[in-house]
């Protein structure tokens, strides 16, 4: 399978990339690691007439501490996220989830910025960054804006990004002793999630003081399990509480069934994986 013909540019600055996007508008696609875009182009599901490769722009791959936040360059690969000691210590959810994306070869190429901008509800990092209450930094012709992850994802493969904007950075709060985990169920290794659950919890004096629970692949965007979050609030974390709370994880969800999983099965997985995730962080 070979993509349809396209014209190609590999700019060496963001300004140049943005100006190319302005010239080519909707006909242009940005290429980061290419592990979402190129498969779509090979299947001719995406047929851009112009591809702007971000791979030659310096300084877009980094992970650094910025006060009490961690700033991650958009071109940082899943492999770099997975092996970052800074993330392992201060935002373990990202390091863990990145290590569960695809396989070794995919993680060597796929990037956090590409995954976020692609806005696939079956991808892991959109739910993870939403659970962390992170922010997406985007640059366009009119400058830079910072978008809360909560507002970023609009629909399947659709975000609030304008056609001439480039995601440059992802920012997430750093936390010491964070109670974070990602549970992912897939049929075969290296598959997308059938359902995923990202959890970020703060506990004070034995009770949950803040809970963030966001689900992968049970709606058109990352879905916040509000019922679970509210039910956990202020409660001591016991096995009984967790079982009762997790039973509410599928409230209000209308996932579409797919080849590998019916709607009912996805709702079942949502409850089970939420219970496992909460047990993993609260009962260990």
């Amino acid at each position: 399978m070979i993509p349809a013909a396209f014209d190609y540019a590999a700019p060496t600055s963001l300004e140049e990339a943005i100006s190319l996007l302005q010239q080519h508008g909707d006909e242009a696609k940005l290429l980061a690691g290419g592990h979402s875009l190129l498969p779509l182009m090979k299947l001719r599901l995406a047929v851009p007439s112009f591809v702007v490769d971000l791979g030659r722009i310096p300084d877009l791959a980094y992970i650094r501490e910025d006060g009490n936040r961690i700033a991650i360059g958009a071109m940082t690969t899943h492999d770099a996220l997975q092996s970052s000691q800074l993330l392992q210590q201060r935002v373990p959810l990202i390091a863990q989830a990145a290590g569960m994306v695809g396989d070794m070869q995919v993680r060597n190429r796929g990037t956090i910025g590409g995954s976020i901008a692609h806005a696939d509800p079956a991808s892991d990092l959109p739910a993870v960054v939403t659970a962390l209450k992170g922010e997406i930094v985007a640059r366009g012709p009119n400058g830079t804006r910072t978008i809360p992850a909560e507002d970023f994802f609009q629909d399947i493969w659709t975000s609030v990004l304008e056609p001439e904007e480039v995601v440059t950075e992802i920012r997430v709060p750093a936390a010491d002793n964070a109670l974070q985990t990602y549970e992912k169920f897939r049929q075969r290794s290296a598959d997308w999630a059938i359902v995923g659950v990202a959890v970020d919890i703060t506990r004070q004096n034995g009770a949950v003081s803040q809970a963030s629970v966001v689900l992968t692949n049970v709606g058109p965007t990352p879905m916040r399990a509000t019922g679970v979050e509210e039910a956990l609030q202020g409660r001591p974390a016991t096995a009984e509480t967790i079982a009762a709370v997790a039973a509410r994880a599928d409230e209000g969800l209308e996932p579409s069934g797919e080849l590998k999983a019916s709607r009912e099965y996805k709702l079942h997985l949502t409850r089970v994986l939420t219970r496992r995730a909460l047990e993993a962080v609260l009962l260990r």
């Binding site: 190609y8 695809g102 290296a190």
Partner: protein, 157 residues
Amino acid sequence: MKNRISVTVNGQQRAAEVEPRTLLVHFLRDSLRLTGTHVGCDTTSCGACTVLLDGQAVKSCTVLAVQADGHAVTTIEGVATDGKLHPVQEAFWNEHGLQCGFCTPGMIMASIALLDRLPRPTDDQIRSGLEGNLCRCTGYENIVKAVRVASGQTATP
């Protein structure tokens, strides 16, 4: 529109004119006639097309040749030195880490990358490291054994 690219392949500078849509695997196989890198699934799943790009394992069916411009690629043809097999090749041979052989070039390239990072991997680390490589003969046991032997460990744990 064609783009002129220059890629260091197995230590040699190779230049060519390619269309932007040319995949790295087709550049290697069709332009350079390095047919050791196989096209299996063509959908980023099976790993038969795995090569090293600047030392990192990648699936060359999902990289554009233009993305490799100015970078270094190692294929299965480039791992033996002076007619002597690479230790991973030697171990696949000795431990019968192949049956039909179609997945083998990709398995070996992925194994080399894995051992570069984890010189003495556990069986679990070998299996998860190679999860991007499929063997339709299902010869996984001997592949794991071969990687273990290549890392200087015994054939059985």
